[in-house]
Amino acid sequence: MAEKQAEAAAVIKTKTTKQMNTIKQLLLSSIILSPFLALSQDASDSIPVYKKRVLESVEVDFLSSLYGQNGDNAAVTGGSGTEQLMDGTATLVISIPLNADDVLTIDAGVSAYTSASSSNINPFDNRKIADNFQASTGASGSDVWTNVTGSYSHSSDDRNDIWSAKLSVSNEYDYFSTGAGGSYTKLFNEKNTELSVHGSVYIDTWRAIYPYELRPFAAGGNGLFNNLFRSNTITGNTNYDPTFSTFDSEGRYSYALGFGFSQILHKNITGSLALDLVQQSGLLSTPFQRVYFADVENSYIQNFQLADDIERLPGSRSKVALGGKLNWYLNEYVVLRSFYRYYFDDWGIQSHTASLEIPVKISSKFTLYPSYRYYDQTAADHFKAYETALSTDLYYTSDYDLSQYSANQFGFGLTYTDIFTNAHIWRFGLKSIDFRFYQYNRNTTFRSSIGTLGFKFVLN
């Protein structure tokens, strides 16, 4: 019995000794390996460096506007006729943060307009007496423009490099446009200086519509035997016989390259310089804009002057724009926002644009936005006022948007901002409401006004 107890005690002692040795080995191993384990832990479970998200949460912008214009120099009627136009636009922009660095933005817009001048592509609707200053009820008097743009941006971890790319598609009855572009922005000097480059390409296609009375004179047309001339009496020059041909190619191509430089000048002042270069080629004329020749006798149906031709413009155009902005934080109530641009192109147009906006904070939530903008331009080389183009000219247009003029624009706006987004629609908090109104007057008969209303929501 005693022997068995002694054997048992020896076995227990042996086991205990082995366990102790094992524990000692484990402890020793732990001590030896601990620096490496610590390093390993540092590598895999390091304390995450805080990186602010480029966009904290989904943002939704809804923007609507109503635009109206009038004047007496419609390009559709050769520089003499009503320019009355109304346009309503609704745009939805959704910005989605895909992760801390990347943002996807979907931008969709619809614009519906009624245009008195466009309605006169066909002024002979048999309901009213045709007249350059009278809208017709033709189908071309209204249209809907739709646009979808998708863009993607990526920012580097230190937020000093930003890449972006975008694709766009837009369509209206007589025009289809596709576009692609990209940009790169580099910030340095502790984010006091910013350099950027951006480029874009638009490939557009006309579905050309020509003035109604010219169509019978295109190749294969039946000229004066057309029903228009058989059912209406031509007055003035009754021998109406325009030399008219349609455009062979209906593509338009635009290439834009831009450079930007912005600099913080002071803790209250920042400014930027921008250079944009645009090259266009293809069909740059608008196919339904009439021209009346000075050396051809006028022909009329009812009170409407029949076209001698449509505008004919060169197949290429190079544009250069150089602009600068300077923003100055005067005090906690007032900011000055200024802009100047010089523009010229190889069609002979030079232009100056200057604007000043003075945001005035009247409370923590409301800001007023009075503004003034001045614009002037010289005429394009090929611009000919109403009935001054010659049939022997190579190029001509009576589009008064390409004439010499100056314009003054006065604006007023009001913004409501609630940084706490207290008001909600479903899960979206209302961040801001923007209202703007602008009145634009040329030193001609042209006048336009636009009112916009925008809402910004943030997903909570």
Binding site: L85, E172, S177, K191
Partner: protein
């Protein structure tokens, strides 16, 4: 004249490139009204300008594409 003004602007900006405003000093620069980008609420106004005026670009707006014929 314009070239001189532009040259002066470029020199002024280049000279100021050595100015460094620290992040904690940018509270006024971070005011939404100090942003240099065109405000989104003015995009339809910019579109109207690009349709009615010959000059485009250098303001962060659209520089190509679209008909702009009405």
């Amino acid at each position: 004249m314009i070239k001189r003004i532009l040259s002066l602007l470029v020199i002024a900006f280049a000279a100021s490139a050595c100015v460094v405003v620290k992040e904690y000093e940018k509270v006024n620069l971070n005011d939404p009204d100090m942003t240099l980008a065109e405000k989104s609420c003015n995009r339809n106004l910019a579109t109207a300008h690009s349709y009615r005026e010959a000059a485009v670009g250098a303001n962060g707006g659209k520089t190509g594409g679209g008909c702009g014929c009405n």
